[in-house]
Amino acid sequence: MALWLVFFLAILAWVVARQTSAVVAASTLGDLEEQRGTLEARQAELMTRIRQARSRKVLIPRAAALGLRLPVDSEIIILQVPGQEKR
C-alpha cells in the first residue's frame, strides 16, 4: 500500500512539474513573441525611413540643392574587376 502511495505521489509530482515547466515555457514564448513583434515593428519603421531617404524623390532635390547632377553616360566609368571576363 505504501509503495502504491509513493508511486502515486511521484506521478503526481511529475505531472505538476511538467505543467509548471509548460506554463513557464508558454510565458517565455509569449515574452519572446512580444519582443519579436516589437523588433519587427521597429525594423519596418526603420525600413520605411531608409526607403524614403534613399528614394529619388528625396535624394535628387537635395543633390540638386548641393549643385550636384546626374551624370551622363559618358561620365560613368564601369570598372571591370581584373581577371573577370565577359560572359
Binding site: 509548460a22 508558454a26 512580444e34 513583434g37 516589437t38 519587427e40 515593428a41 521597429r42 519596418a44 519603421e45 525600413m47 520605411t48 526607403r51 524614403q52 528614394s55 529619388r56 524623390k57 535628387i60 546626374l70 551624370p71 551622363v72 553616360d73 559618358s74 560613368i76 564601369i78 571591370q80 573577370q84 571576363e85 565577359k86 560572359r87
Partner: protein, 612 residues
C-alpha cells in the same frame, strides 16, 4: 390550535417534501437534462477561434520587402483598473500620440477604446500597465506607400486583397489559418489555452517579384518628371529582360497623380513602333533584299483611298532607311508585297491581339482584326501601326522577341516563391511562346533599330555617348470615343539596351505630350532612364556585358554588321525554319484553364456550345 406534536409532524412532512422536491429537481437537472446543461456550460466557458495565418511577404527580385505583414494592436482602457490614473494617462498619451485632454476625456468613460491600429513599438511602454487591454491583429504594411502601388495592389475595406498582385497571388500569400479553443471566465474574458490548440496557423509563402526596386524607383520618377515637363495626360514605362521575359520595372501614371495599371490594361495604337513588325514579315518571307528600294514620293503620296505623308521627304529608300526615318510611304509601299495573311500572322506571332498571360488581373488583349474584317486601307494602316491596339506590355514583349533572337517569351512578374521556412517552391524559367522570326532576321531587325538612334534617325535624341542603343519612335494620333482627337498624339519609344546583346527592353509611352513627337519627348526619357540605371547600384544591368564604344556620329550603312566592337556572345547560327505552332492539349481542363493555356501559346479561344 393543533397539538404541538401534530404541528411538528406537519413541519417534518413539509420539510421532507421540500427535500424530496430538491432531490427530484437535482435528479431532473443532473440525469435527464444533464447533457444539455453540460453543452451549454461548455459553450459559455469555451470558444473556438480561428488563428489567422501571417500573410506572406512580397519582395523585389533582390529581397527588398515591398509588402509585409506585421502585428498591430487596438487599445482598450478600463479606467477603474488603472493604478495611478495620472501617471497612466501620461504614459498612454505619450505612447498613442494623444493629447492630455483627449486621454482625460477617454478616461472619464467606463471603458475607452482606441482603434489604432498601433504598432508594437508604440504600445510597448503601456503593454504591462494594469487596466490596459490590447487586442492583437495582423495588418498589411507597405514600407513605401506609393511604390509600385497599382502593381502590388491593396486590400479592400474588408481586408481582402482587392487589386494587383496581392489579389492574383492571394492563394500563395494567404497561408492556412489555424484553430484553437480558448476559455472564458465569468465576465466573458478570454484566456489563451495552449493545451487546446487544434491546428497551428501556417504562414503564407513569400513571393519574390521580378521587379528591381532601384530600377522601379528610377522609372517612376522619370515618368512623373516627363509627365510634368511635357504636360502629358499620362504615360507608361515598361522594362523587360529580353532573355527571361521578366518585368524589371513597370510604371503608369496620370497627370492627376493617380497610378492606374494602364501598362497592362489600357491599349493604344502603336504607330510607327509597329513598322518593325511589317519589316519582320517582309524579311522573314524573303520579300525584300538588301538592294531593294521604293520611291518615297518626296513626302506626299496620293492614292485613291488615302493620302500618305512623310515628315522627312525623300525619293528612294531601302527598308532600313524606311525604319530609320520612319517613312510612312516607304513602309506602306514595301508592305504591299505582303499578303493580308502574312501581315496578320506576323502581328499575331509577335503577340498582338492576344493577352500575354502575365500574372496580373484584367490584362487587356489589345485589338487586331483578322484579314476578313479589313477594309481597303487596313493593310496600309497596320503597316504604319494603326487599326491595331496594344498595351505597353504587349509592345515591350514584342520588341523583346527581336532582342531575344526572334523568340517571343511570356512576360512574368513572379521570380520566385518560397515557403515560410525558406524552401524554394517555384523559380521562374523563361517560357517561350513561339519563334516569331529566324535569328538572322532578328539580327537584321536589331541592326535597323540601331540605325534609328544614329544621327539622322528619328530616335537620335535617345543616343548615348558611350553605349549603343537600338529603338524605334512612334508618334500616333490619339483615338478617343469619337475618332481621332485633333492635335493629340501618343508618343512612344521602344528600345533595346545595349544594342548588342540587349539586357533591357524598354517602352516609354507618353499620352498627349506637349511637343507631340516621340523623338523630343519619349526618346529623351529613355536616355535619362538608362543613364540613371547605369549610375545606380542596380543589378538590372550586368556591367560585364556592356560594351563601351561610342555610337558613330554619322549614320553608317545600317544592317551591314559594322559593329565597332566584338562581344563575347556571338549569336549561334540557327537556320531552323519557324516551328509549326502546336496546339496545347486542353482536353479535360475546365473552360478557364483551357482558355488560359491557349492564350499563353498565342491562340485565340472562341467558345461554342455548352455542356458540363
Amino acid at each position: 390550535m393543533a397539538k404541538p406534536s401534530v404541528r411538528l409532524r406537519v413541519v417534518e412532512i413539509a420539510f421532507a417534501l421540500g427535500v424530496a422536491a430538491v432531490v427530484a429537481r437535482a435528479g431532473q437537472v443532473q440525469l435527464l437534462q444533464g447533457a444539455t446543461y453540460r453543452a451549454r456550460a461548455e459553450a459559455q466557458r469555451t470558444e473556438h477561434v480561428v488563428l489567422p495565418a501571417r500573410r506572406g511577404t512580397i519582395y523585389d527580385r533582390n529581397g527588398v520587402p515591398l509588402a509585409l505583414t506585421r502585428e498591430a494592436y487596438h487599445v482598450g482602457i478600463a479606467p477603474r483598473e488603472l493604478g495611478s490614473r495620472a501617471r497612466a494617462a501620461r504614459a498612454i498619451g505619450a505612447a498613442l500620440g494623444l493629447s492630455a485632454r483627449a486621454v482625460g476625456r477617454a478616461l472619464a468613460k467606463t471603458y475607452a477604446f482606441f482603434q489604432g491600429p498601433f504598432t508594437a513599438t508604440q504600445i510597448a511602454p503601456i503593454r504591462d500597465v494594469r487596466g490596459v487591454h490590447l487586442t492583437h491583429e495582423l495588418t498589411r504594411f507597405y514600407p513605401s506607400a506609393d511604390f509600385a502601388r497599382s502593381l502590388i495592389g491593396r486590400p479592400a475595406a474588408d481586408g481582402r486583397p482587392a487589386s494587383g498582385l496581392e489579389r492574383v497571388l492571394d492563394t500563395l500569400l494567404q497561408g492556412r489559418p489555424g484553430s484553437a479553443v480558448v476559455l472564458r471566465d465569468g465576465h466573458g474574458r478570454m484566456y489563451e489555452s495552449p493545451g487546446r490548440l487544434n491546428a497551428f496557423p501556417v504562414a503564407g509563402d513569400a513571393v519574390y517579384l521580378t521587379i528591381d526596386a532601384e530600377l522601379q524607383d528610377i522609372v517612376e520618377r522619370a515618368l512623373a518628371d516627363a509627365i510634368e515637363r511635357y504636360d502629358a495626360a499620362g504615360g507608361d514605362v515598361v522594362v523587360l529582360h529580353p532573355h527571361t521575359g521578366e518585368v524589371l520595372a513597370v510604371a503608369s501614371r496620370r497627370a492627376d497623380g493617380s497610378t492606374p495599371p494602364t501598362a497592362f490594361t489600357s491599349v493604344f495604337e502603336p504607330g510607327s513602333t509597329a513598322k518593325i513588325f511589317a519589316a519582320a514579315a517582309l524579311l522573314e518571307a524573303g520579300l525584300v533584299g538588301d538592294a531593294d528600294s521604293v520611291y518615297a514620293e518626296r513626302g506626299v503620296w496620293v492614292t485613291p483611298y488615302r493620302t500618305f505623308h512623310d515628315d522627312d521627304p525623300r525619293e528612294w529608300l531601302h527598308l532600313r532607311d524606311v525604319i530609320q526615318i520612319s517613312s510612312n510611304i516607304g513602309i506602306v509601299k514595301f508592305a504591299q508585297r505582303l499578303s493580308p495573311g502574312q501581315q496578320y500572322d506576323m502581328l499575331r506571332a509577335f503577340g498582338l491581339g492576344a493577352p500575354t498571360g502575365i500574372e496580373f488581373p484584367a490584362e487587356s488583349r489589345g485589338t487586331l482584326e483578322p484579314p476578313d474584317h479589313w477594309s481597303a486601307v487596313s493593310a496600309a494602316s497596320l503597316a504604319m501601326g494603326y487599326e491595331v491596339a496594344v498595351t505597353p506590355l504587349q509592345l515591350a514583349a514584342a520588341y523583346a522577341a527581336i532582342a531575344n533572337d526572334g523568340v517571343l517569351l511570356q512576360p512574368t512578374l513572379v521570380h520566385e516563391v518560397r515557403s515560410a521556412d525558406g524552401k524554394v517552391l517555384y523559380r521562374q524559367q523563361p517560357v517561350p511562346v513561339r519563334r516569331v522570326v529566324r535569328p538572322e532576321v532578328a539580327e537584321r531587325l536589331r541592326a535597323m533599330l540601331r540605325g534609328v538612334v544614329y544621327e539622322g534617325g528619328t530616335g537620335s535624341t535617345a543616343a548615348l555617348s558611350s553605349y549603343e542603343l537600338a529603338g524605334k519612335t512612334g508618334t500616333a494620333r490619339r483615338a478617343t470615343g469619337h475618332g481621332y482627337a485633333p492635335g493629340e498624339y501618343t508618343a512612344t519609344f521602344a528600345s533595346l539596351f545595349p544594342a548588342e546583346d540587349p539586357q533591357m527592353v524598354m517602352v516609354v509611352k507618353l499620352d498627349d505630350p506637349r511637343g507631340a513627337y516621340a523623338r523630343i519627348t519619349a526618346a529623351p526619357v529613355t536616355r535619362s532612364v538608362i543613364e540613371q540605371t547605369l549610375a545606380a547600384r542596380t543589378t538590372a544591368l550586368d556591367p560585364r556585358r556592356l560594351g563601351t564604344e561610342s555610337a558613330p556620329a554619322a549614320g553608317p550603312a545600317v544592317g551591314t554588321g559594322s559593329v565597332p566592337y566584338v562581344m563575347a556572345w556571338p549569336p549561334a547560327p540557327d537556320a531552323t525554319p519557324p516551328a509549326a505552332r502546336t496546339v496545347p492539349d486542353v482536353r479535360g481542363l475546365d473552360l478557364r484553364a483551357a482558355a488560359h493555356a491557349l492564350h499563353e501559346r498565342g491562340f485565340e479561344a472562341r467558345i461554342k456550345g455548352w455542356g458540363p
